[in-house]
Amino acid sequence: MAYKIVTSQCTVCGACEFECPNAAISMKRGTYVIDAVKCTECEGHFDKPQCVAVCPVDNTCVPA
C-alpha cells in the first residue's frame, strides 16, 4: 500500500512534493523519494494518488 518514484524517469521537478497530503515525499540525495510508511495512496483524501495525477512524466510514480 504505497507508491514509489522511478528515479530514472523522475525529472526532479518537485510537483509531487507539495501535493502529497501525507508529506511522504522528500528530496534524498538529489532525487525525490516516497516514504512507504507515510504513503496511503491518498485513500481517504482524494480519488487518485496525487503524485501520479500531478507528475508530468508517465510511469514515474508507480505502485511499489
Binding site: 526532479v12 521537478c13 510537483a15 512534493e17 482524494f46 480519488d47 500531478v54
Partner: protein
C-alpha cells in the same frame, strides 16, 4: 550622419564606478523614443502613444518595448520547476520547450540562491532592469518559491522590475498576491479560447486535486486564463499574452484569441513560432508537425495587428537566460561563480548609467525622425525587408561572420519597422568560413533585399549577391533605423534611375529553438 553619443559625453556622478559598470556591460546602450505616432509594430510605440504611467512601466522592459530591447537586459531565475499542465509542444523529461531549450538542463535554484544571483547580475550588468520567473515549469505552480524570490530581491534591489510568466491555470488564486508584491508585468500563455482546439494542444491539466483530460481540461484552463487576465488588467497590471503558432491546429484560431485577449485589456500579444524538432521528443516533434515559416508568422502577426500591440522581438529565451534578448550571458553566472563573486549593490550607479542610456535613446529617436523627414516627398509603393547585423545598442556594429542573429526591418515610405529576427549559425568560426557554408544564412535571409553589416568578407558578399541580397558596409556603426531609411532612400533612387530593378523576395526559414550562446 550623427556621431554616436558616448556614455562619457554625459557628465554624471560616480565616474569611477561608471567605468566598472561599462566594462561589465560590455555594450554601450542607446535607443529610440519613437514619436511618429503609432508605428506599425505596436510594441515599438514610443512615449507619445502611451499614457505616461504606462510608458514608465514599459520603457525599460526589453520584452514590453521593442526599443528597450536594444538597450536593456532581463534575467530569469529557474526557481519554478514544477508544472500543472502538459503541453504537446513541451517535453517534461527535459526543460520546457517553450521557455528553455530542450535537452539543456538548467540549474534549478533555491529562492536564496536566486536572489544572490540577481544581485550579482544587476551589479555586473547595469542595463539589467527586469527579473522574470518563467519556469522551467510554471511560476504559479511553484508559488512559495516564486514569491519568496521576489520578496528577497525587492529587499535588496527595489529598483528591479518584477515579472512572471504563467500558463494561467492558478492565476486567479494569486492575483492579489501578485498585486501586493508590485509585480508590474505578467505573461500568460494562451494558445486557444476554443476547448476543442485546446484538446489538441493540452492532453491534461492538474486542478483541484484531479487530473482532467480532453476538452474538459481545456475548458477549465481557458476559463481560468481569461478570468486571470481580466483580474490583472482590472488592477492595472500590464499583461502580455504569449501564443504558440501551431500550423494546422491554432494558426487561424489565434486571430480569435487575439480579439478575446484584446477585449479583456491585454497590453501586448506575442505570437511565437512552434519549436518542434523531433530530437526534442515532444508530441508535436515526434508526429512531425512543422513550425511556421518566417512569412507565415509575419502574415499572422500582421493580421492580428490593429489597436493591439504585437511583439515581434521575442527570442523565446530560456528559463535561466541572462542579458540582452539577443545574447546569452547565463554561463557567466552559474551558481558556483555567483557564490564566489563579491557583490556590492550600487543603486545610484545603476540609475546614473540608465539615465545615460535614456539620453542616447533620445538621440537615436531624433536621428530617425530627421532621416524619415527626408522621405516625405517620396511616393513609391515599394516595401522591402532589410537585415541588420548588430550586437545591441541600436547600432549596426556586428561583423557578418560573427552574427548569431540578424534583425529584420521592413521599410517603406512610411518608415522603418522591426518585424523579427533570424537566428543563424556563425558563418565565421575562428577566422575560417564554416563548413556548413553560407546556405543556411541565405535561407534565413531569403526575404531580405539587403543586409547591413559593420564588415563583411568578399566571399560571403559574392554569395549573398548571387542570391539577390545586397551586402552593405556603408552604414557601419551608425544607428539602425536611421540607416535602414537612408538605405531605402538610396534604393529608391537607384530603382528610379534604372540602375537596379526592384524584385519581390521569397519566404525565409525560422531557425528553431531558444536563443543560447553557442
Amino acid at each position: 550622419m550623427s556621431k554616436l553619443l558616448q556614455l562619457h559625453d554625459f557628465g554624471a556622478p560616480g565616474a569611477k564606478s561608471f567605468e566598472a559598470l561599462r566594462a561589465g556591460a560590455a555594450q554601450s546602450g542607446c535607443s529610440t523614443t519613437g514619436g511618429n505616432g503609432k508605428s506599425g509594430c505596436g510594441s515599438a510605440a514610443g512615449q507619445g502613444d502611451l499614457p505616461p504611467e504606462i510608458w514608465e512601466k514599459v520603457k525599460n522592459h526589453p520584452c514590453y518595448s521593442e526599443q528597450a530591447h536594444h538597450h536593456f537586459a532581463r534575467m530569469h531565475v529557474a526557481v519554478a520547476p514544477a508544472c500543472n499542465i502538459q503541453c504537446n509542444y513541451c517535453n517534461r523529461k527535459y526543460d520546457c520547450a517553450n521557455e528553455s531549450r530542450p535537452g539543456v538542463v538548467s540549474e534549478k535554484l533555491t529562492p536564496e540562491q536566486a536572489a544572490r544571483k540577481v544581485i550579482a547580475v544587476a551589479s555586473t550588468i547595469p542595463q539589467m532592469t527586469v527579473l522574470g520567473i518563467a519556469g522551467p515549469g510554471d511560476a504559479l505552480a511553484n508559488p512559495a518559491k516564486t514569491f519568496k524570490t521576489f520578496e528577497l530581491v525587492t529587499a535588496t534591489a527595489p529598483d528591479i522590475k518584477l515579472c512572471l510568466s504563467t500558463n494561467g491555470l492558478m492565476l486567479p488564486d494569486y492575483v492579489e498576491q501578485i498585486a501586493a508584491m508590485n509585480v508590474d508585468h505578467v505573461t500568460i500563455t494562451i494558445n486557444m479560447i476554443d476547448p476543442e482546439i485546446g484538446a489538441q494542444i493540452y492532453p491534461w491539466i492538474f486542478y483541484n486535486h484531479r487530473r482532467f483530460t480532453g476538452v474538459e481540461a481545456s475548458k477549465i484552463l481557458s476559463e481560468r486564463q481569461l478570468l486571470g487576465l481580466e483580474m490583472l488588467t482590472a488592477r492595472g497590471i500590464l499583461v502580455k499574452v504569449n501564443s504558440v503558432m501551431i500550423p494546422g491546429i491554432n494558426d487561424r484560431h489565434l486571430i480569435e484569441v487575439n480579439k478575446a485577449v484584446k477585449s479583456r485589456g491585454a497590453f501586448l500579444h506575442n505570437i511565437m513560432p512552434l519549436i518542434s524538432e523531433p530530437e526534442h521528443g515532444t508530441v508535436f516533434g515526434l508526429e512531425g508537425r512543422r513550425g511556421p515559416s518566417a512569412q507565415e508568422l509575419k502574415a499572422l502577426q500582421d493580421d492580428c495587428e490593429g489597436e493591439m500591440n504585437m511583439m515581434r522581438h521575442c527570442r523565446q529565451c530560456r528559463a535561466d537566460a541572462v542579458g540582452l534578448l539577443g545574447e546569452d550571458r547565463s554561463a557567466e553566472f552559474t551558481t558556483d561563480k555567483v557564490m564566489e563573486m563579491e557583490v556590492e549593490y550600487d543603486l545610484a550607479a545603476r540609475q546614473a548609467y540608465q539615465a545615460k542610456v535614456e539620453a542616447e535613446r533620445d538621440a537615436i529617436a531624433l536621428a530617425k525622425q530627421r532621416e524619415l523627414a527626408t522621405l516625405a516627398d517620396e511616393t513609391a509603393t515599394i516595401k522591402i525587408q532589410v537585415a541588420i547585423a548588430t550586437k545591441g545598442g541600436g547600432v549596426i556594429n556586428e561583423h557578418f561572420g560573427h552574427a548569431h542573429e540578424f534583425q529584420i526591418y521592413e521599410v517603406s515610405t512610411a518608415g522603418a519597422k522591426f518585424i523579427g529576427h533570424r537566428r543563424v549559425d556563425l558563418y565565421c568560426e575562428g577566422g575560417y568560413a564554416s563548413e556548413t557554408g553560407i546556405e543556411p544564412i541565405l535561407k534565413a535571409l531569403n526575404d531580405c533585399t539587403a543586409v547591413l553589416v559593420a564588415k563583411i568578407g568578399l566571399c560571403p558578399k559574392d554569395s549573398l549577391a548571387g542570391a539577390g541580397i545586397e551586402a552593405v558596409e556603408d552604414y557601419a556603426f551608425e544607428y539602425i533605423e536611421q540607416s535602414v531609411i537612408a538605405y531605402f532612400k538610396d534604393y529608391l533612387a537607384r530603382v528610379g534611375k534604372s540602375e537596379i530593378r526592384h524584385v519581390a523576395r521569397g519566404d525565409a526559414d525560422i531557425r528553431q529553438g531558444a536563443f543560447v550562446a553557442s
